[in-house]
């Protein structure tokens, strides 16, 4: 075969392109004839048919909202259900003068400007024959007043619709989250068709995270209407399908014990089953009533909640970030032994402060006069700071942060809820990136007692403690135990997932630190000795105190004179029974002072409730 001519031949090429252009033109004519033919059919052949349809346009398609899935605790206690509530709704095309009607309605029932704004927004995206809610949750008096006058308002309806309800009110609100009215932002995230009939959507927490399970499938109704738009009969219907039910890992009664144990304090508790990552209780105090948000909270009430100095809306358990203080010491102790930086008998002499070589600055112990000779067990039992300053100095920040990282510090746990934060595990790299500064040796010391830049969320701390309790296996904590699929009502278990595993080099190392933690509670000099009275099982724990503000070099921290909101946070981590851990707990009481006196008793009450009342 002759080789193809490689020179461009403009004549041949232009003829080729022209041929193709003519061909395209023919295609165009054919395809557009098809369109015209279709239009001919629609507009001439079937004109009569469509003309009649257009004149009456009687068949309407209505969306039927699905019923939201229910939420139960691990023993079947109802945490969230749906109740019928009366709503004031308006069908736009049946109202002649909308503005006037809205004005007149104000004589019989109150609605806020906010509700009016929302109504007008829905008006834009819904079809003219759909009923659009103006006011939700009418009380009996309002219903009565409106019902009497309803004949005066064409197109205004009172309808009973199922609305989300939290039967236990504020109980477990931070674990559940809540639903609220759909707004523009929500619509951007979901399939508009599925929500064509819905008015509410999960806004926070589980309700948001499991929105796709809880919402259900929209139904459709073809109805014939008369000239005024009133429904005459239903022609065809495919009913909506209820959303799936959730069964939680949360134990409602345990949760209640935890909430009550807090009294008027603010703070958080997370209790986890260390053997599978199931969250047994997740408490952030104070709590608030989520039912307020379902039907649109008033500005005043919202501002009151938002501006309260105790910040009830803030989910401390997932979003609160606190220095772990001395609760980090068992992890450093284990790091020291595992990395062969410390031995179990090696002693440090504590004179009440620590100094870096060639530095004047004093790093103080919480006990002014010092603890004297300290080995690792003593240092954990009595929470000696100087021992851990020294240990930190020898470990160095790089090894410290990589070791804590293996127990989940500084990364999200991946819990199935919204709003979880990272905490902060400082390192040289982090400091260079965020502050553009090198790491100073003094910061290593402060990090070594869980202060400084180190931050944890209560959930993170509980999960790391749980991982410690079962010798290094860290599960991904979760709130949902199973999803009950509707309509078969079969439960699909959510499998426990291992998020990370630290392989212990020598089991004696772990056992040594573990025994020291048992000593914290059961030893005579243990900082949490106070809760050991009458204990029927063994507890391993560690107290902690997190500084809210720094005491200047020459000053002293005096609990009595410090304002309450600047007082230290009290912390306590623990797991029990010590020999066969069933529950791991982290407690943080904001401005509670010492971990021993405030936080530890809360943990004790939870453990009692879980371990004793269960059997």
């Amino acid at each position: 075969m002759p080789k193809r001519e490689q020179l461009q031949d403009d004549y041949l090429e232009s003829r080729l392109i022209r041929r193709r252009l003519v061909l395209s033109a023919i295609f165009i004519v054919i395809l557009l004839s098809l369109v015209l033919g279709r239009l001919y059919v629609l507009q001439i052949v079937e004109h009569e048919h469509f003309s009649t349809l257009s004149d009456s346009n009687r068949v309407r398609i209505k969306a039927l909202p699905p019923t939201r899935g229910l939420i139960f605790d691990r023993h079947g206690v109802v945490m969230a259900d749906n109740l019928p509530a009366y709503r004031l709704e308006i069908v736009r095309e049946q109202v002649e003068d909308l503005d006037n009607t809205l004005l007149q309605l104000r004589q019989y029932v109150e609605y806020s400007d906010q509700e009016l704004k929302r109504f007008k927004q829905s008006l834009k995206r819904r079809r003219p024959f759909e009923s659009i809610p103006l006011r939700l949750n009418l009380n009996d008096e309002e219903v009565a007043r409106l019902a009497v006058n309803l004949h005066r308002f064409e197109g205004v309806e009172i309808n009973a619709r199922l609305t989300r309800n939290y039967p236990q009110g504020a109980h477990a609100v931070h674990a559940l989250g809540y639903v609220g009215r759909i707004d523009e932002r929500d619509l951007g995230e979901v399939d508009g068709v599925e929500y064509a009939g819905s008015t509410h959507i999960g806004k926070l927490g589980l309700e948001k995270f499991y929105e796709h399970e809880l919402h259900g499938t929209v139904g459709v109704q073809h109805v014939e209407v008369n000239a005024n738009g009133r429904t005459l009969r239903v022609l065809d219907e495919s009913p909506p399908m209820q959303g799936n039910n959730l069964h939680l890992t949360i134990d409602s009664s345990l949760q209640k014990v935890a909430e009550e144990a807090f009294g008027n304090n603010s703070g958080a508790v997370v209790a986890i089953d260390p053997n599978n990552g199931e969250i047994l209780a997740l408490v952030s105090m104070p709590i608030f009533n989520p039912n307020l948000f379902v039907n649109g909270i008033s500005f005043n009430k919202y501002n009151e909640l938002r501006d309260s100095h105790q910040r009830p809306l803030f989910n401390r358990a997932l979003s609160g970030q606190y220095p772990p203080g001395s609760t980090s010491k068992p992890f450093y102790g284990l790091a020291g032994l595992e990395l062969a930086t410390a031995t179990k008998d090696q002693e440090t002499y504590c004179i009440g402060f620590y100094k870096l070589p060639n530095e004047e600055r004093k790093y103080r112990d919480w006990k002014k006069q010092g603890h004297g000779h300290m080995n690792l067990t003593d240092a954990i039992t009595q929470s000696c700071d100087v021992y851990f300053y020294d240990l930190a100095y020898r470990l160095g920040i790089d090894r410290m942060s990589s070791f804590l990282g293996q127990f989940g510090f500084g990364v999200k746990t991946g819990v199935d809820s919204t709003g979880e934060r990272n905490g902060l595990l400082p390192s040289r790299e982090w400091k260079r990136r965020h502050e553009g500064m090198p790491w100073f040796p003094g910061e290593t010391l402060i990090t070594g007692i869980g202060q400084g830049a180190l931050l944890v969320t209560p959930l993170q701390l509980a999960n790391s403690t749980a991982a410690f309790a079962v010798r290094g296996t860290r599960y991904q904590p979760h709130l949902v135990k199973s999803v009950e699929k509707v309509p078969e009502y079969n439960r699909i278990e959510i499998a426990s997932r291992v998020a990370g595993r630290y392989e212990i080099q020598k089991q004696q190392n772990w056992e040594h630190v573990h025994k020291a933690m048992v000593n914290v509670v059961h030893g005579l000099r243990g900082t949490a000795h106070g809760i050991s009275q009458g204990l029927e099982y063994k507890v391993a724990g560690k107290t902690g105190t997190a500084q809210v503000f720094e005491v200047a070099q020459d000053e002293e921290y005096d609990e009595e004179t410090v304002l309450e909101k600047l007082r230290d946070h009290a912390l306590f981590v623990s797991y029990a029974p010590a020999d066969d851990p069933q529950i791991a707990i982290a407690v943080i009481v904001e401005n509670g002072g010492h971990g021993s006196s405030v936080a530890a008793p809360i943990a004790r009450r939870i453990m009692d409730a879980y371990l004793l009342e269960r059997s």
Binding site: I17, L21, A25, Q43, F50, L53, G188, G192
Partner: protein
């Protein structure tokens, strides 16, 4: 032919047109269509003057850009095509990470002073780069050229389809395909590619798409199964068009349109408003105007003196036809609902600007011939 015309008639308009390198035939057709469109839009928007004024402003801006594009020399167009293409790709990738989400799709890039869809740029850049590439090669295209061009087209098309913006992906893809088609890809190659693609479709369906995208496409293919979404659009749109009859119900008198039964009636579904108010007769007239524009573009392509001009002008004109065909087909219930506007009539700025710039480039191709010969 044009030379003789020029020397005879030296009217002022003609001289202005020549100075600005514009094609009077194409320009007047475009202006007639745009003005006609504004009239329909006034009715579709429920007699909202503000909407029409905004649309008119866009038309003026788009026409200014058309004039600017018409004055870019052909050499320059070839030179910038690679940069425009790369910039477009970069912005598409940026949109994946920083884009603003609207109605479940991530398409918009906000540069602070302006918010736009980078995929629009690719509607121009893809045919430009493929035409640039092929114009330096011997035609008809060989295997290597075919592979390179297909990759150039496929990358942006996949990125756009994943946003997901099926309508734009189709337009960009067909623009690129038309260049190849005109450059003479052999029929057997095209047929085997078609077979290959249809074999690959199930794989793409399974692995390249998200669940919700699959659902969306499934409803597109069977609108009647989704009476709350696009199925409703189709049903109402057919009633509107069908009830228009031969001469229509008259401007501003369409009951379907005025009573708000047609969703998206000033954007993608504006042709239903038109069909209801102007009838079959009006539809014929409208489609003839479009055909005149498309054929003028093809004529310019056929009379260009170099391959680059032939390929680019031809591809732009054919893409313009795809807009028309997909939109009218979808509104009349022949094709699935994908977001393709009725060109130069639907409300909205981005497609108006790209289309007019495309026509500006066609005019530049037309003038290039006269200076070269």
């Amino acid at each position: 032919m044009n030379q003789t015309l020029d020397s005879d008639s030296t009217s002022i308009t003609r001289r202005v047109m020549d100075a600005l390198r514009l094609d009077p035939v194409l320009l007047s057709l475009l202006i007639i269509l745009a003005l006609f469109g504004s009239m329909v839009l006034y009715s579709a928007s429920g007699s909202d003057q503000a909407v029409v004024i905004r649309q008119m402003t866009r038309i003026v801006v788009a026409l200014l850009l058309l004039v600017a594009a018409a004055n870019i020399p052909l050499r320059m167009i070839r030179k910038i095509s690679i940069w425009l293409y790369l910039a477009g790709l970069a912005m598409l990738i940026a949109v994946m990470f920083y884009g603003e989400v609207g109605k479940g799709a991530q398409r918009w890039l906000n540069l602070g002073f302006i918010r736009f869809q980078p995929s629009e740029i690719l509607k121009l850049a893809v045919p430009m780069i493929v035409a640039t590439y092929l114009s330096n090669r011997v035609l008809p295209v060989g295997l290597k050229e075919l592979v390179v061009s297909s990759v150039l087209v496929a990358i942006p098309v996949i990125l756009i389809a994943r946003q997901p913006d099926l309508g734009t992906a189709i337009l960009v893809g067909s623009a690129g395909f038309f260049v190849l088609f005109l450059a003479g890809v052999r029929w057997r190659v095209m047929i085997s590619l078609g077979v290959l693609l249809s074999l690959m479709a199930p794989l793409l369906w399974k692995f390249a798409l998200h669940d919700y995208q699959r659902n969306r496409i499934a409803t597109l293919l069977d609108p009647e199964s989704d009476p709350l979404g696009s199925g409703y659009h189709i049903i109402q749109s057919k009633i509107a068009i069908g009830s228009g009859g031969v001469y229509g119900k008259g401007w501003l008198n369409g009951t379907q349109s005025q009573l708000d039964f047609i969703p998206e009636r000033s954007t993608d579904f504006i042709f239903s408003v038109f069909g209801e108010e102007f009838g079959f007769f009006g539809s014929i007239v409208l489609i003839l105007i479009y055909v005149a524009i498309i054929f003028r573009g093809l004529y310019i392509a056929a009379h260009s003196t170099e391959n680059f001009g032939r390929l680019l002008a031809g591809a732009f004109s054919l893409t313009f036809f795809v807009y028309l065909f997909v939109n009218t087909g979808m509104v009349a219930g022949m094709l699935p609902v994908v977001g393709v506007p009725l060109p130069l009539i639907s409300y909205g700025g981005t497609s108006m600007v790209t289309l007019m710039m495309g026509f500006g480039l066609i005019m530049s191709i037309r003038s290039a011939k006269r200076f070269l010969v």
